[in-house]
């Protein structure tokens, strides 16, 4: 794991504004999640598909004596299926809520950014993405979109009704 954005870190004046994000990749785009919300990075895992589950559910995976439901990030943002095995992150919002997994293509490293540098979502963004994304940080390599684990919770996702369409019965 290399530390990306060392230069930026030096520019952060106030320590209180520093946020550590874990970078993730899906379909060539980069995203970031606050490291404090990540419980564990499981790495590449084969998932057990759940028939008839909503398309946003990637499947289930055993995790410390529990059966963890995982969210397929690609399905959320409307990307096609990833040809290879995805990486699983275990997220926990820390408020006694459910623990769940997030499946992305690749997990990068930890990046420290300045909270104040967060750019708001563009107004032209479509409704689903607007709901999912918190905004973006300008990195040297491109933009990194910040995600809120709270909003990625499977129960939250079904509540919004934005991601209803399709089930895991692929042939349907």
């Amino acid at each position: 794991m290399k530390i990306v954005g060392k230069d930026e870190m030096e520019q952060i004046q106030d320590e209180n504004d520093a946020v550590s994000l874990c970078s993730l990749f899906a379909g060539g785009e980069s995203f970031g999640i606050d490291t404090r919300k990540i419980r564990e990075v499981l790495g590449k895992r084969e998932l057990q598909r759940v028939p008839l589950a909503p398309a946003m559910i990637a499947g289930v995976v055993p995790y410390r004596g529990e059966v963890l439901t995982t969210v397929n990030f690609r399905a959320l943002v409307g990307m096609g299926e990833y040809a290879e095995t995805g990486c699983v992150l275990v997220l926990d919002d820390g408020e006694g809520g459910e623990r769940f997994g997030l499946v992305v293509d690749e997990v990068g490293g930890v990046v420290t950014v300045d909270r104040r540098k967060l750019e708001a979502n563009p107004t032209t963004l479509e409704a689903r993405a607007k709901w999912l994304f918190d905004g973006a940080y300008k990195m040297q390599t491109g933009l990194m979109v910040q995600l809120d684990p709270q909003k990625l919770r499977p129960s939250r996702l079904t509540e919004t009704g934005l991601f209803k369409q399709g089930t895991n019965g692929r042939d349907a």
Partner: protein
């Protein structure tokens, strides 16, 4: 959850609440016993007195004045009772029961709000006056007590009222839950658990240090296995609660119910100490309550009717709990009027659940099953029919939800027995793991009736169609088929076509159907893990489990699958009656076990009389009075040897010759005598048509089995009986 609401309830109070509840439970039991066994009054009143006294003592210490006042009034009354100043009467017991309710209500309020509360109507003076009156004291005394009581309460009223209002609404719903979430465990059990966990840690350390290659690895693995098993058993034990906890509330309920219904009912228990998982105990609480209510309300007749029927005026309700083949059975038996079959059938026909002809041909057992149909219970008119049936479908659904089953037996004029059969625990269930569309699924063994393999060459002909529905002919009964892969929208693997398929015959909530799967894996004891809400919503999976090979398998909800596939219990029943007619026609066509006894002669016995096929060392065959005998499982079996196989084997003179013996029971006739039949070799099991009886062969019948002539044995019973006489 709800923790902030209860910040007022400190540990001391919590302990007091638990203790008081137990005391009151004891009091309730004693009170109902007191009524039925006045001769034991001394001991029982003493027990009740102690319960109330303890509450009174502790409340004074904790500062719950309202509770103390009420408990004091009760104690006073009980004191007089104990000293023999008062006699036990029905009114007195009713009064004491109301006292108990009063105490319970205040305890509940304390649990919810942290204070004993004084909402409007939270006034016990009326109850206290009633108790005093029962005690024979002049009511004036109460009147001077009442204002004081109110004064005492007013001080805390304001603070408490606000808290009560806030907490009352949300906690009312959760209050039942809060009590269910705590569990009292024997410290010994907890210590044992801690020991085992220590052992587990030690074993892990050793394993980590020695590594996989170490010579003692197998030994460590064995130790790990035994420690895990012990730990599992201990945790299970900790979760076990005596069924008596559940039974405890029934005497009171039955008493109240009997009074309102004008019945005279005595309740008897046995097997209260039978342990059952706490979550299961909760799950069967409602069905059991329902069953008991039904028994009192509709099962047991009014005293006058009972006397007319020549039974004692007092009805008897028996609750029994016992272990039976790995599950716990809870039996609710009454000695009431029983269920009238004609009325049930009449009602069922009226409701359009079965047709007139079907009703005619129904056996008593089948007719009783009608009571469990959902349509049967909705109307109030049913109560006047037979009594049972009000919400019996709900009872069955609830019990089956936890993997149990319900059986009903009834005899007119003698009574009705309802059996609730539940597994010992929910956490670990035996299951069969199957594969479909490249995925593993677990089917609970409780729902599994049998497995059928349909080989590829038969696959085409085995599936028959009625309209669009596919059925399989299983022993001349049409079984609706459900393709698991198709139902779940799984991709069909190409290899599926190459071999046949398996049919798992499942039964749940009265639906019987064949689930088609690609492959069967091993039966396993699976640990049930809950699924997240999103996946529960799919409705077909009751959980997931990690298999021995580390992969996950979803646990299929058998009843929900049936519902999703459109399998209905009613349709099934229709088929049942139809096929029973078919069965009658097909009587001449039956299953045979075919073997060879005399050289080259094929002989067969009906398959249903054969219990086992044993290979017996010749040395074990003994002789008495010229007859060959075999000591088999503590029984002396006479051996028949038509083909003189034994003599032939003997002639071989080899030391370890094995004789093939068919162990035949007198099936169907009720005769318990078994016989052994020595045969040369067993050939096949097949269906065959019986030819007309041929006098020339005496007791023998001939049949065409697989297009070959075969002799049939059928006369075991007579022969065995004859032998018995000789002996």
């Amino acid at each position: 959850m709800g923790a902030p609401d209860k910040r007022d309830v400190d540990d001391l109070t919590k302990e007091f609440l638990a203790e008081s509840q137990e005391g009151l439970d004891r009091m309730e039991r004693c009170l109902t016993e007191l009524e039925s066994r006045p001769e034991d009054a001394g001991a029982l009143v003493g027990e009740i007195f102690r319960a109330v006294h303890t509450i009174k003592g502790t409340t004074g210490f904790l500062g719950f004045e309202r509770l103390e006042k009420l408990a004091h009034a009760g104690e006073h009354l009980l004191g007089s009772l104990r000293e023999g100043k008062l006699a036990v009467t029905s009114e007195l017991i009713s009064g004491l029961l109301r006292l108990m309710d009063g105490l319970r209500a205040i305890l509940k309020l304390i649990e919810e709000t942290g204070g004993e509360g004084t909402r409007v109507g939270d006034d016990d003076s009326e109850l206290i006056a009633e108790l005093a009156e029962l005690n024979g004291t002049a009511p004036e005394k109460v009147e001077e007590e009442a204002p004081r009581h109110e004064l005492a309460v007013v001080g805390e009223a304001h603070a408490e009222a606000a808290a009560a209002k806030q907490a009352a609404a949300p906690s009312a719903a959760s209050s039942a839950g809060s009590n269910d979430k705590t569990l009292r465990i024997d410290v010994d059990v907890l210590n044992r658990m801690m020991n085992l966990v220590g052992e587990l840690v030690l074993t892990r350390n050793q394993m980590l240090q020695s590594g996989m290659e170490a010579a003692n690895f197998p030994e460590l693995a064995r130790r790990l296995d035994s420690v895990t098993a012990d730990l599992r058993e201990t945790v299970m034990q900790a979760r076990m609660q005596p069924v008596g906890n559940l039974f405890g509330k029934f005497p009171r309920m039955v008493r109240d119910l009997a009074r309102t219904c004008g019945r005279d009912v005595r309740i008897e228990f046995s097997g209260q100490e039978t342990g059952l998982d706490k979550s299961l105990l909760e799950a069967i609480k409602d069905p059991l309550t329902h069953a008991v209510r039904n028994a009192v309300d509709h099962g047991i007749e009014a005293p006058a009717d009972r006397v007319l029927a020549g039974k004692p005026a007092e009805g008897l309700l028996r609750l029994r709990a016992f272990h039976e083949s790995g599950s716990v059975v809870i039996e609710v038996a009454d000695d009431g009027a029983g269920i009238s079959m004609e009325k049930v059938l009449k009602k069922a026909v009226e409701r359009g659940l079965v047709s007139e002809e079907q009703a005619q041909s129904m056996s008593e057992r089948e007719a009783l099953q009608l009571i469990f149909l959902p349509g049967f219970s909705t109307a109030t008119a049913v109560t006047t029919v037979s009594g049972r049936g009000v919400g019996m479908d709900v009872v069955r659904a609830n019990v089956e939800k936890v993997g149990g089953s319900v059986e009903l037996e009834s005899k007119i004029g003698v009574g009705t027995t309802l059996k609730l059969r539940v597994p010992l625990t929910l956490a670990i269930v035996p299951a069969l793991v199957v594969r479909s569309g490249g995925q593993s699924f677990a089917l609970p063994q409780t729902a599994l009736v049998e497995l059928v393999y349909v080989p590829r060459r038969e696959a085409e002909t085995a599936v028959e169609r009625i309209g669009a529905a596919e059925v399989y002919r299983l022993r001349e009964r049409l079984l609706p088929m459900v393709w698991l892969g198709r139902l779940l929208g799984l991709e069909m693997s190409a290899s599926e076509e190459s071999h046949g398929f398996y049919l798992a015959v499942l039964e749940a909530e009265g639906c019987r159907y064949g689930l088609v799967v690609d492959d069967l894996l091993a039966p396993e004891e699976i640990v049930v893990k809950p699924l997240s809400a999103v996946l529960r919503e799919i409705g077909l999976f009751s959980g997931a489990t990690v298999l021995g090979n580390g992969t996950l398998a979803l646990i299929l909800d058998i009843a929900a699958t049936a519902a999703r596939a459109g399998v209905k219990p009613v349709e099934e029943r229709v088929e049942e009656t139809e096929t029973s007619e078919v069965k009658a026609h097909a009587e001449s066509e039956m299953q045979f076990l075919i073997f060879e006894d005399r050289a080259r002669e094929r002989t067969a016995v009906p398959l249903n009389v054969v219990e086992r096929i044993e290979s017996v060392p010749l040395a074990q065959v003994e002789y008495a009075g010229g007859r060959a005998l075999l000591q088999y499982r503590g029984e002396l079996l006479p051996l028949t040897d038509e083909g003189n196989v034994l003599a032939e084997l003997e002639a071989d003179n080899a030391s370890d010759v094995l004789a093939t013996v068919l162990i035949c029971g007198g099936a169907g006739t009720g005769a318990r005598t078994r016989t052994g039949m020595v045969v040369r070799r067993v050939l096949d099991v097949s269906a065959g048509a019986v030819l007309d009886r041929d006098d020339a062969t005496g007791g023998m019948e001939l049949a065409i089995v697989k297009e070959k002539l075969t002799t049939i044995h059928r006369d075991f019973d007579t022969r065995a009986a004859a032998w018995q006489e000789v002996a």
